[in-house]
């Protein structure tokens, strides 16, 4: 999925303030809301993926689950304020794209030219190394003879059974495939390394090849969970800032006087004097 970054907007609907007062509260609470969300959004991503992995069991391999969850908490999230709204962007491409996913599926695939797609060289010639491991499949014609036999062998391998390969004279050679599927999964995870594109199997499902998994709305669940958590964080910290502002701000004020509210620049009074709050609620002028 190229360039997929859910853009989640959290608004001020949970805060009972408007206009300047809301802007001031958001200004006060903004830095802590930003840091809390930036820290916790990757954890929410991990939690949602964990639920999705559980829902996909037993078909979704345990090694995929472990790999996805080992990296899910590192997904970068950016948090920024646009007016009084908080915009959260989650970079799921960091976790892995469809190109990453196919990288492991394509390794050592033979093209019709008998070159390997992305292996180190070829079964047929040591000089055939024009495709690197990172190269995605771009639609080259494939070496795909004896489709039925290959399919049968793959299905046997997934089940770990014994495949009987019959030669032209009818004599069979038994191939014990026990453990080969597990080894295939391990190899894939090794190839993916610090990417975990298996999350796309959870998102889109897999119909044509093992592991057969039904699609889930993983990104939708992430959005919901982040919005719910984000609303709580936003409301709590902004309301707290609001209380502070209200407790520091006198009811009747002059716009040109500094009242000691957080984050507001000191201002000059009409008399050209910088004022601070003095004892007994009065304002003590300071000559500057």
């Amino acid at each position: 999925m190229a360039g997929w970054m859910p853009r989640i907007v959290i608004d001020s609907s949970g805060v009972e303030a408007f206009g300047k007062e809301l802007a001031q509260a958001v200004s006060e609470a903004g830095p802590i809301i930003t840091s809390v969300l930036r820290y916790n959004v990757p954890l929410i991503v991990k939690m949602v993926l964990e639920e999705a992995c559980l829902a996909a069991e037993p078909n979704f391999p345990r090694i995929y689950t472990e790999h996805v969850l080992s990296l899910a908490g590192t997904v970068p999230a950016t948090v920024e304020f646009m007016g009084s709204d908080v915009v959260v962007n989650v970079d799921l491409d960091y976790l892995g794209t469809s190109t990453d996913l196919e990288r492991a599926y394509h390794r050592h695939a033979l093209l019709a030219s008998l070159r390997e797609l992305n292996g180190k060289g070829s079964h047929h010639s040591s000089s055939m190394s024009q495709y690197r491991l990172e190269d995605p499949y771009t639609g080259q014609e494939l070496y795909n003879e004896e489709v039925e036999k290959r399919q049968e062998f793959w299905e046997t391998l997934v089940e770990g059974g014994t495949y009987v390969s019959r030669g032209p004279k009818g004599r069979g050679v038994e191939i014990n495939t026990a453990g080969m599927y597990d080894q295939t999964l391990i190899d894939r995870v090794v190839i993916w390394g610090n990417k975990a594109p298996e999350w796309l199997i959870l998102e889109y499902g897999s119909h044509e090849s093992s592991p057969y998994v039904a699609p889930q709305d993983v990104t939708g669940m992430m959005e919901e969970a982040i919005i719910a958590y984000g609303n709580d964080v936003y409301t709590e910290y902004t309301n707290s800032a609001l209380q502070n502002i209200r407790s520091y701000t006198p009811r009747a004020t002059s716009e040109s006087t500094y009242y000691g509210g957080w984050g507001e620049q000191p201002m000059y009074s009409d008399l050209g004097k910088y004022q601070v709050r003095g004892g007994g609620g009065r304002f003590a002028p300071i000559n500057i």
Binding site: S98, Y105, Y137, Q151, T184, H207, S209, P215, M221
Partner: protein, 147 residues
């Protein structure tokens, strides 16, 4: 799947088939799902995702429902898969689909949230030599309004 979702899924499928036909798309086979059937080139399936909030009530009158729909197709090449995605995304963006029951009675309408529409193209999985086709996946969040 509830009866409403069944009607919605069928209505989306019918509307999409009609739309694609007007866009000169031929050779497509619309399926109920993938199940255990062998996947053929040109197979299309529409799925209402079970993990999305199923028929979330948006108001007191339970007349509006939201859910995520996934349209998928297996096609012979990457450009064709991408062209299919473009067509389906345009359909999702523009279409207002009537929900009809088995008696062709109009129950309501469905629209898609434009901002939620996205697509991806997945290359063939080489371990399965029988299905060496490109997979087009298109997602969107739909809202169904009942009269």
């Amino acid at each position: 799947m509830g009866r409403k979702q069944y009607y919605e899924k069928r209505s989306i499928s019918t509307a999409l088939q009609t739309y694609l036909a007007t866009q000169s798309w031929t050779g497509l086979t619309f399926k109920e799902g993938w199940k255990d059937e062998e996947i053929q080139i040109g197979d299309v399936a529409i799925q209402i995702l079970p993990s999305s909030p199923v028929l979330t009530d948006m108001g007191q009158h339970a007349s509006t429902y939201t859910y995520t729909v996934q349209v998928e197709a297996y096609l012979e090449s990457e450009p064709r898969a991408e062209a299919f995605e473009d067509a389906v995304m345009e359909f999702m963006d523009l279409a207002s689909i009537s929900i009809v029951d088995k008696n062709s009675t109009v129950l309501g309408s469905i629209i898609c949230d434009t901002d939620s529409i996205r697509a991806d193209t997945l290359p063939p999985v080489f371990t399965t030599p029988k299905v060496l086709w490109w997979r087009a996946v298109i997602r969107g969040k739909f809202e169904a309004h009942y009269y």
